[in-house]
């Protein structure tokens, strides 16, 4: 699914933050090109 793909990670503080998602993407063989964590506090 992510092998060889470039991935935009849109995390959220109250859900799953970008660094955690980005780690999963890299572990699945994807390349993270943008990773941001939104915060709506």
């Amino acid at each position: 699914m992510f092998d060889g793909k470039k991935v935009i990670v849109l995390g959220e503080r109250d859900g799953v933050a970008a660094p955690a998602i980005a780690a999963c993407v890299r572990g699945a063989g994807g390349q993270v090109v943008l990773a941001v964590t939104e915060c709506f506090a």
């Binding site: 992510f2 793909k5 799953v16 998602i21």
Partner: protein, 105 residues
């Protein structure tokens, strides 16, 4: 979605080409998941940011979806995401994304 993030997504799409990109969300509920998905598929639904009227049609998934979980090594997924899968309303989040994807097919 934050206006700066919309700009960053627009620039990433221009730089890498939308055919090479996938968007992965970590939003905490169905409403915010749908809003983020809608933004990267059809454009900013609030017409406030740089993606207003910009139809990127990017493939979009939530990190809690089964297809994502299955693509990630199990121990890594459990360590990084595990507990949130039990805390968040996964079924509602997945349904909201499926609804957005169905509209563009």
């Amino acid at each position: 979605m934050d206006l700066q993030n919309q700009q960053a997504i627009l620039e990433a799409t221009r730089q890498h080409g939308k055919e090479n990109l996938v968007v992965l969300l970590g939003a905490p509920d169905a409403e915010s998941s749908a809003m983020a998905a809608e933004t990267v598929v059809s454009g900013d639904p609030t017409y406030a940011g740089p993606l207003a009227g910009v139809q990127l049609d990017l493939p979009v998934f939530h990190v809690l979806e089964e297809s994502v979980r299955e693509a990630v090594p199990r121990q890594l997924y459990e360590a990084e995401v595990g507990i949130m899968g039990a805390v968040l309303d996964k079924a509602a989040i997945v349904a909201s994304l499926e609804a957005v994807r169905a509209r563009v097919r």
